[in-house]
Amino acid sequence: MNNFKPKIIAFCCYYCAYAAADVAGSLRLQYAPEVRLIEMPCSGRVDPVVILKAFEEGADGVYVAGCMEGDCHFLKGNIQAKKRVEHLQKVIAELGIEPERLAMYNLSGAQGDRFAEIANQFTERIKKLGPSPIKEGEMYNDNS
């Protein structure tokens, strides 16, 4: 399990997290290479089905990163995103996937350090949880 390299998908709002990733880059801050960023026009634009599909396709963890509450470019997109994530946590729990594998973070576009911190913390969390339970299915196939 030590060499477990999780697949992590981060849906990042263009106005904050994605910009913060740029800042982190220009500051030469190191952050977990397991995290794959997907640029979104707003965290509120993340489709719940897409989050579920990420898990279906083998993601070990997924997080949505949006602006600080009250700072959404589209007023309430990040609040909507937070509610969706909370709802989807219940859905994945029903499917036997730990709800901790899905998270919502808020940060501003200037917080390059915070961006790196989130990426590292979340990656650490997923490493502790181990591979997504969906991979149990692959074990069945190996045996057969």
């Binding site: 279906e56 499917l95 069945y140």
Partner: protein, 222 residues
């Protein structure tokens, strides 16, 4: 509208455990509006079912579609090809939708993904409440527009009963007493006389008790 809520996903997964290809049919009518059975919910359910199957190391093929309304033959006729190709059908319609699909596609198992719970409306975003008991004999003109048949836990016609206190029903402090509401409304309307008048035993033959009901409009028939 009809309000329905999703069944636990595991329960739906259990219904289809022997199938490898299912058609998941959302409904663009009431269940879409109450966020239980529309396009998005159908997609979420299908994905969830595939995830569950994948966890067991098996494959589930899902085809997702949404009918404008499952309670109209003309909107479900078009599903025929998709239904033919699937081993079973999961409906995210209300109980009516499931039955219309089951009747239309005689040879197929049509399985419910929702529990149909009430006829009501949206009281605030994300919250729906019961308003109509479908009794077939509307008496709202006597009660200030508040239905005691469905909003009183005892369907009392000459309320309120002795269990009404502080405006709430004896069965739940979260449930307003319908007769308290009627009392307040009729007071405002200065029509308390309506509440004083004896309401005779109701004709329940017009509701479910009298057997399955039908409505006909000759001029609408083809």
């Amino acid at each position: 509208m009809i309000i329905a809520e999703p069944k636990p996903i595991q329960e739906v997964a259990e219904y289809i455990k022997e199938y490898h290809k299912v058609l998941v049919v959302g409904c663009g009518g009431c269940t879409s509006v109450c966020l239980s059975g529309g396009e998005t919910e159908a997609d979420i359910l299908a994905t969830s079912l595939r995830i569950l199957r994948k966890k067991e190391g098996q494959k589930l093929e899902t085809v997702v579609t949404t009918a404008t309304r499952q309670c109209e033959p003309e909107f479900i006729d078009g599903l025929k090809e998709l239904v033919d190709e699937a081993e079973a059908v999961i409906s995210l319609g209300c109980g009516v939708g499931v039955q219309f699909l089951a009747e239309r596609f005689q040879e197929k198992w049509v399985l419910p993904a929702l529990n149909t719970i009430l006829a009501g409306g949206t009281v605030q975003p994300g919250q729906w409440e019961e308003r109509c008991g479908l009794c077939g004999d509307c008496q709202l003109h006597l009660t200030g527009g508040i239905c005691p048949v469905i909003r009183c836990a005892k369907s009392i016609q000459n309320g309120p009963c002795g269990g009404s206190q502080n405006g709430v029903c004896e069965i739940s402090t979260e449930m307003p007493c319908a007769w308290q509401l009627i009392y307040e409304k009729l007071t405002v309307l200065n029509r308390l006389d309506l509440m004083l008048a004896y309401r005779p035993a109701k004709d329940w033959s017009k509701e479910r008790s009298g057997g399955p009901r039908k409505m006909k409009r000759e001029d609408a028939a083809l």
